[in-house]
């Protein structure tokens, strides 16, 4: 397990040191969540209705910001060649990078979400459910993101295409993640939790294999 954790720790360190990681995602998320109420106006009823959806979309976009460098930086400086020759399989490497990305973006975004919920006047129950849905759903964001990042790693402006690949994949996460909060607000059971959990689990389990395949193709390119 040492090679796995070595890569995980290095990626975490890089995301703290070289920018484009934790601070950027949190700052973007906070700014979106602050601007929307300013644009919509002080209609608390309306804001609390759209709050969950906007915070989910904001968190997803914030997590995407640092994704384009997930494999690209290592590809450009030759680190990816060395990772490929290491005892760690490319599947393991993709999983390590995915987890590091989630720890550096998904987790902090989840922890920040209750604070930003206040701007939308979400009641405590909805606020906690939003945090829970982000905790459950953001791993899928990092996982689907890793697929997009691995496909675009050799493209110069890959960062521009990445959202076009990743965002459609993330539609279920946004729908069911918001759905979990709406359930609390309206009291109508929709089964959103089950769908989000299933989607998240499937994406997280499949993505390292797909990403490793894409990395192999790109190394051969």
């Amino acid at each position: 397990m040492t090679p796995f954790f070595a890569l995980l720790r290095r990626d975490l360190r890089l995301s703290v040191r070289e920018g484009g990681g934790v601070g950027l995602a949190l700052g973007f998320f906070a700014l979106v969540a602050t601007l929307v109420p300013l644009g919509v106006g002080p209609d608390m009823l309306l804001l609390s209705k759209v709050g969950a959806g906007i915070l989910w979309v904001g968190a997803t976009l914030a997590a995407l910001l640092s994704l384009d460098r997930l494999f690209q930086a290592d590809y450009e400086d030759g680190s990816l060649d060395l990772v490929a020759l290491s005892p760690l399989s490319l599947e393991g490497a993709a999983a390590a990078k995915m987890i590091a990305h989630w720890l550096a973006t998904g987790l902090p975004l989840t922890l920040l979400s209750p604070v930003l919920s206040v701007l939308f006047g979400l009641p405590t129950g909805a606020m906690l459910m939003l945090a829970a849905s982000l905790l459950l759903g953001t791993p899928a964001v990092s996982a689907a993101g890793a697929i997009g990042a691995s496909l675009t790693l050799s493209l110069r402006r890959g960062g521009l295409i990445l959202p076009l690949i990743v965002l459609p994949l993330l539609t279920p996460a946004v729908i069911f993640g918001t759905g979990m909060v709406v359930e609390v607000q309206t009291g109508l059971a929709t089964g959103a939790f089950g769908f989000l959990a299933a989607f998240s689990l499937a994406t997280v389990l499949l993505s390292p294999f797909i990403a490793a395949m894409a990395v192999r193709l790109n190394l051969a390119g």
Binding site: F5, A6, E18, S79, L82, A84, L85, P87, L219
Partner: protein
């Protein structure tokens, strides 16, 4: 230790262009092979093919260990020490942090790779310090990699190569950016590695040292 690397009738295609075909060679323990050829002849492609990054268009390449042929590219990769064009360094990491990362990533042994005549080492950290001294980077150990010169980055690459202790070295232009002293170091390290039963394939425009076989692409 592996006994040999064999390539049989290898062909490589990049895009629509056939770089080489019908290429056969064999490197056995203690041997260094110099790849020669004009720019664009396919030296780097051959190295990437041997490393298992590029698929071959035809032919076979395998490592033989205790009589077993290892054909699978990713299994073959476990024998390979790689020194490519790129230095694989992160600007914000210090030299010793960078080496510590590779040590863990490769589960590197805590001994070996140190030239005779230096004090014996026991721990991984001591070994890394000794390796840095050997490549002439002892004073830069705590310096972030962004401040290293091209030659110093190359030297760190050599330290990494020694650290990972892989039997088959694939070197792409190992002399590039190095000063006279550095070039001597590369030649000494290649001789040392071959002396310990290792193998080297190096793409180069300069002689590796005495008594090497060469392959013209």
């Amino acid at each position: 230790m592996i006994a040999s690397l064999t390539a049989e009738k290898l062909a490589c295609t990049r895009g629509t262009r056939r770089l080489f075909e019908g290429l056969s060679f064999r490197v056995t323990a203690g041997q260094a092979l110099a790849l020669e050829g004009a720019n664009g002849a396919g030296k780097t492609s051959l190295l990437r093919l041997v490393a298992g990054f590029l698929p071959q268009a035809a032919g076979r390449v395998f490592v033989t260990e205790n009589g077993n042929e290892i054909v699978e590219p990713e299994e073959r990769g476990r024998f390979i020490g790689w020194l490519g064009h790129h230095d694989a360094l992160k600007a914000s990491f210090t030299v010793s942090e960078q080496l510590a990362f590779f040590s863990k990533l490769y589960s590197a042994p805590s001994v070996g790779g140190i030239a005779a005549g230096t004090s014996p080492v026991k721990t991984g950290e001591e070994r890394r310090a000794a390796l840095l001294e050997q490549v002439g980077l002892a004073r830069q150990a705590e310096l972030p990699c962004r401040y290293l010169s091209a030659g110093q980055r190359r030297r760190l690459g050599l330290a990494r190569l020694l650290l990972t202790a892989r039997p088959l070295w694939l070197l792409d232009e190992p002399f590039a950016a190095l000063d006279v002293d550095g070039k001597g170091l590369v030649a000494r390290l290649i001789a040392l590695h071959c002396g310990q039963g290792g193998m080297v394939i190096a793409a180069t425009h300069e002689p590796l040292g005495l008594g090497n076989e060469s392959l013209k692409l």
